[in-house]
């Protein structure tokens, strides 16, 4: 095998930005150093889900002249012209005056695009620069030599449901590289292994889940185009952090979603059903009249902010994008930080350099690009919402003035015995249909990639908390059957919620064979 100089795990915005910037640099220096990206999805973009409203300055810097070079793609990015925020009660909607909306939450002149489309396009741009993108390979673990990262080990392929090798068994291969960049997204399996060892974060990382659907609407539909609409309030109780978004995508589609902080206390909160409930609100129902759901998916978002960022480099490895927790909740954005962090990482990697000292330039580059400055400004943003939306909303406006660091509790610890929403919803879309709309598939006789560490814990959880996993999983992977939790791993959309929110931390999320999972094209 040809040796690999820089190995990037995950072909999302961060990983691809790293790859593009690096290869540009190598090409300019006439270096033949190789940049290889591996991605567990069958194709780049299939596992990427976001709103998304993005600030495009990062693309101007990464790929100067991109608009002129690809006018068809540039036309897909629709500038935001209408930007509204509403507070919803069960029956009514109140528009929040623009003046009261925090500065970071203004989106006019930002661009609307599906992140799976953006990633698909970035992957093409990367290949043009000479980056090798190998999709359909899942990495299982990091290879360490003392405290230095030497590469990754891929998953074993061809095991049957009882983990016995089949005739096509292929043992997980070792992929070695001088530098490994971890761009495996929120709570990625490898970045999690990295953080457990390298540490460096002061607060624990916390997450939210985003439930998303894409609707097809008739041309000339009421919602209009170039429009961004956010809501707070209904269906969430004041003590559930979250809100929804409705974005026009071109002239025929609306992207909509509900984001909920995973630190909710309710044992029976079902985010997919909460979204269905939101769809029944008069304001939303009006917009979604004649709208046909054509795609669905879910993903977690790292929300902890500045104090949850771990040490971003070690010998032989760097963390970028969501894997590093670079999401700014004040702006509800992360894609441009992902791209900027990738560029900052690429600038720190000198051909052949693996030492932590050299890679340490990464932090300075992040500072120079203003990424850390924004993150620092929002350092206490997520924390103030722990006290509910009525305290959190006003406090969030002045959170940057709070002189001390506010702490965070891990999401799983917040589930409270006896706390229940007791919803009675007749959903338009159930969880099985939701799973089908995500296009997810897994080999049916594959060993479950979701592992219950101790089944007796599930019994205890059943008694004390009524098995929340059977309710919160957006695609109903977990179901309580007479004597235990039954797992339909093939419905999994790789959102990661279960491993984060299981109250007893009894679920281990391992990567399944490559090329499986959801197939998002316009998410």
């Amino acid at each position: 095998m040809k040796p690999i100089d820089v190995l990037i795990i995950g072909a999302g915005p961060a990983g691809l930005a790293t790859a593009i910037r690096l290869k540009q640099k190598f090409n300019k220096a006439k270096s033949t150093a190789s940049v290889v990206v591996i991605e567990k999805a069958a194709k780049p973009g299939y596992h990427n889900l976001s709103g998304a409203v993005i600030e495009t300055a990062c693309l101007d810097e990464l790929l100067p002249g991109w608009r002129a070079a690809d006018p068809a793609f540039a036309a897909e990015l629709m500038p935001v012209k209408r930007d509204e925020m509403y507070f919803l009660t069960a029956k009514a909607a109140f528009q929040i005056p623009e003046l009261l909306v925090p500065g970071g939450m203004h989106h006019k002149n930002d661009s609307l695009i599906s992140v799976s489309r953006l990633v698909d396009w970035l992957a093409k741009a990367a290949r043009k620069e000479g980056v090798e993108i190998q999709s359909g390979f899942s990495a299982a673990s990091l290879i360490w030599d003392k405290d230095a990262v030497k590469g990754v080990r891929l998953v074993d392929c061809g095991l049957d449901a009882r983990r016995q090798p089949k005739p096509n068994f292929l043992k997980g291969e070792d992929v070695l590289a001088k530098v490994t960049v971890l761009a495996d997204g929120p709570r990625g399996v490898l970045s999690r292994e990295y953080v457990a060892r390298v540490k460096g974060n002061i607060n624990p990382q916390v997450y939210s889940i985003g439930i998303k659907q894409v609707f097809k609407v008739p041309v000339g539909h009421d919602f209009g185009t170039n429009r961004v609409l956010h809501t707070l309030g209904f269906p969430n109780r004041p003590d559930v952090f979250g809100g929804s978004f409705f974005y026009s995508m071109g002239t025929e589609y609306i992207a909509a979603g509900l984001i909920l902080g995973l630190d909710w206390k309710y044992t029976d909160l079902n985010p997919q059903q909460e979204f269905e409930l939101l769809k029944t609100h008069p304001l939303i129902a009006r917009f979604l009249k004649d709208a046909v759901p054509v795609a669905a998916g879910a993903r977690t978002i790292p929300e902890g902010g500045f104090y949850s960022i771990p040490k971003l480099w070690t010998e032989g490895a760097l963390l970028v994008g969501d894997a590093a927790g670079l999401v700014n909740m004040e702006k509800i954005k992360g894609i441009h930080y992902a791209i900027f962090s990738g560029m900052a990482a690429a600038d720190a990697i000198v051909d052949g350099s693996i030492s932590a000292t050299a890679l340490g330039a990464y932090k300075d580059n992040l500072e120079a690009r203003g990424v850390l400055k924004d993150m620092r400004h929002a350092r206490n943003f997520r924390q103030v919402f722990q006290w509910g939306v009525f305290m959190g909303a006003p406090l969030s406006q002045i959170q940057s003035l709070i002189p001390v660091r506010l702490g965070l509790h891990q999401d799983h610890s917040q589930t409270l015995k006896g706390a229940a929403l007791k919803r009675d919803i007749k959903p338009a879309i159930d969880r099985a249909t939701f799973a089908a709309l995500s296009g997810t598939t897994h080999r049916e006789d594959e060993p479950s990639h979701l592992i219950i560490n101790d089944t007796s814990v599930c019994q205890r959880c059943r008694q004390e908390l009524s098995s929340p996993c059977a309710v919160f999983c957006p695609t109903e992977v977990y179901r309580w059957k007479e004597d235990g939790v039954n797992i339909s791993a093939s419905n999994c959309v790789h959102c990661g919620t279960c491993a984060i929110k299981c109250p007893f931390q009894n679920i281990t999320w391992t990567p399944p064979e490559g090329g499986q999972g959801p197939r998002y094209k316009n998410m």
Binding site: G158, E444, K521
Partner: protein, 632 residues
């Protein structure tokens, strides 16, 4: 021994995104669809890699035809174990139908044999069909062009004392076939556990191990490739609406319900009945002349039902054309079958008998029938799209340079006019394509013969009229041992695989069944009752959820990740109707659903519904069926 595997990139039809449809024109924008490794070709590659592992000195070479982008498919193959790749790419190949494709591939294979294998023996391994075209014509036609025998429906192989033996599903059951000489072409129907891509192999591919050839490099005759070499024309594409046209009906009583189901089962669901105005030739001069022929296939000493169905259709076509209907029968001692052919509507029977025609082998059968066609020149010849028909018809079509449309669901006589082209009273052939997502209307061009295969059960067999008589034309079969390149050494009639796709009635249960015990308690007796009442074999199946919960085995899973079925009657019990399931069963003739949730999605796809609790209603239903049985 070396191996050439034919591979193809196909559009991913398992999930067609909304934006890929042009709803106004009713067409699919293929450019929007993802491309994937044709799943059956991946099985062929696995088959070849496993054969290779018996002899380390052998090589596996993958051959594909397509645009430059298809190079990534060859890289994929090499990551899985192939040693070399050949990409056949040239604008001149564009617009090719199956014979034009087969010819181009055969030219490349000749060059591979000469320049790369340097005269060493080789075996061609292919998948049965591609999921986009779904015709299964290219492999037999490649074999025909290269003059070699085909071993179709291969399941496994063995090397006995170094000699290759292939197990395949044939008319006699599981047959063990030994090639008498090489090269030979094997089409693989099933090879479980496809080889994985190895990351190390991906990164070890040398650019020089992929050869890129154009039409000139393989010395292809420019008149035989691309659209110029094609014998069929797609004249129209229409979408098949995923919503069934007729709303679900809820009967007032179980008896009324059973009446309707019985009616639909016997006469087809009303939604399929279309008023067809018969074609009137009048005083127009038809573009083609000749009789309408049907190949009479035998099944364990009797005529295959599909052949009788086709005779009925042929009668209709021949009446419109003012021509005679003839059946073609070949075999060893088959004269006793001719009265049944006359009774089913044949005016004439062309019969060839020879001891070498006792068991079906494509080469000798093709030789005899192709000679008959060239001598007696029918204008239309129909075959059942049975396993045998799918092996035989493509080779005959290729041998006589005729067009062939596979798996037709509609045949009619019509005139065709477009630009300077004007054809009178030709055969308009309609078939599903792209996994049943669209219907294509196809006509034959530049050929005096129009050939088509038709899926069993599409047309109704006529009521036999024993008083009908006709003329038997004996045709000599000139065959000797050299015409048989393979030999059947062993056959065992047992079938163990579950063939849900061939079932006439399927009773399927979902997650709402609750337990494996309930499957046995309710579905088994319901299936038995239906079987006795409708006098057919009834298969039991399940949705993915039911399979996951262990209520029923994976071999009986219906849906996107299971089997696709189209029985005459599909009974869905406690199935919610997720898209994944609907995809696998929406082609069923009549769909009857039992679900306690009256808003269940399954009802949008059903003809008949019973919104009730299954534990209560199924015993009543079984009782009602038994009562009918007793009365009848």
């Amino acid at each position: 021994m070396n191996y050439i595997v034919l591979v193809k990139q196909v559009p991913d039809i398992t999930r067609i995104p909304e934006e890929a449809w042009d709803r106004e024109k009713g067409t699919l924008k293929r450019g929007v669809l993802d491309t994937v490794f044709n799943p059956l070709d991946l099985q062929a590659l696995t088959f070849a890699c496993r054969m290779k592992s018996h002899d380390k000195s052998s090589r596996v070479l993958c051959l594909t035809m397509g645009p430059n982008q298809a190079r990534e498919l060859l890289e994929d193959c090499m990551a899985r174990g192939a040693d070399e790749g050949v990409l056949l790419t040239d604008m001149k190949f564009a617009g090719a139908d199956t014979p034009a494709t087969a010819y181009a591939l055969a030219c490349a294979i000749r060059k591979i044999a000469k320049d790369i294998f340097k005269g060493q023996d080789y075996v061609i391994v292919t998948g049965m069909q591609s999921v986009d075209g779904d015709t299964a014509q290219v492999p037999p036609q490649v074999a025909e062009e290269l003059g070699m025998e085909q071993i179709a429906y291969a399941q496994s192989f063995d090397f006995v004392k170094g000699a290759l033996q292939v197990k395949r599903i044939g008319p006699l059951g599981v047959e063990t076939i030994v090639p008498k000489h090489y090269p030979v072409l094997i089409t693989v129907i099933q090879c479980m556990d496809p080889v994985y891509r190895s990351f190390n192999r991906v990164r070890s591919i040398e650019a020089t191990s992929i050869h890129v050839w154009n039409a000139e490099a393989v010395a292809a005759d420019k008149d035989l490739i691309g659209s110029k070499g094609s014998r069929t024309w797609v004249t129209q594409i229409a979408s098949v609406s995923s919503q069934r046209a007729k709303p679900c009906a809820y009967a007032l009583s179980l008896d009324e319900l059973l009446d309707r189901i019985e009616h639909d089962f016997k006469h087809g669901s009303a939604r399929e009945d279309k008023a067809v105005t018969p074609y009137v030739l009048g005083d127009k001069t038809p573009s083609l002349n000749g009789e309408v022929w049907v190949y009479a296939e035998q099944e364990k000493g009797a005529l295959a039902s599909v052949s009788l169905e086709l005779l009925g259709k042929a009668r209709e076509l021949a009446t419109a054309l003012k021509q005679k209907v003839a059946a073609v029968i070949v075999g060893d001692n088959v004269k006793y079958l001719t009265p049944a052919l006359f009774a089913a509507g044949a005016d004439k029977v062309y019969m060839a008998e020879h001891s070498l025609l006792k068991d079906f082998l494509p080469c000798p059968f093709k030789k005899v029938i192709a000679a008959m066609v060239l001598e007696y020149r029918p204008q239309i010849m129909l075959f059942g799209a049975s396993p045998l028909g799918r092996e035989l018809a493509p080779r005959i079509a290729y041998a006589i340079s005729a067009g062939l449309t596979a798996d037709c669901t509609g045949l009619e006589i019509a005139d065709y006019e477009k630009g300077s082209v004007r054809q009178i009273a030709i055969l308009k052939q309609t078939r599903p394509a792209l996994g049943g997502n669209i219907m294509a209307t196809i006509i034959t061009k530049d050929s005096p013969f129009q050939l088509a295969t038709v899926r069993p059960g599409v047309f109704k067999a006529p009521v036999p009229d024993a008083s009908r008589k006709g003329e038997v034309v004996r045709v000599a079969a000139h065959l000797d041992d050299k015409d048989c390149a393979t030999k059947i050494v062993w056959s065992e009639p047992a079938f163990t695989k579950v063939h849900l796709d061939q079932a006439e009635v399927i009773v399927s249960g979902g997650r709402g069944m609750g337990s494996k015990a309930n499957f046995e308690k309710y579905l088994t007796p319901l299936a038995d009752a239906l079987s006795v009442w409708l006098k057919v074999k009834v298969e039991i199946a399940g949705s993915r959820m039911a399979v996951e919960d262990g209520f029923i085995g994976h071999a009986r899973q219906v849906g996107q990740t299971g089997q696709t079925v189209s029985p005459k009657l599909y009974v869905a019990v406690a199935i919610s109707g997720a898209v994944q399931h609907i995809t696998g069963m929406q082609g069923s003739g009549t769909i009857f659903s039992i679900n306690k949730d009256p808003h269940a999605r399954i009802y949008s796809y059903s003809d008949h519904g019973l919104a009730a609790d299954l534990e209560e209603v199924i015993p009543q239903l079984i009782k009602a069926i038994h009562k009918r049985q007793g009365a009848a």
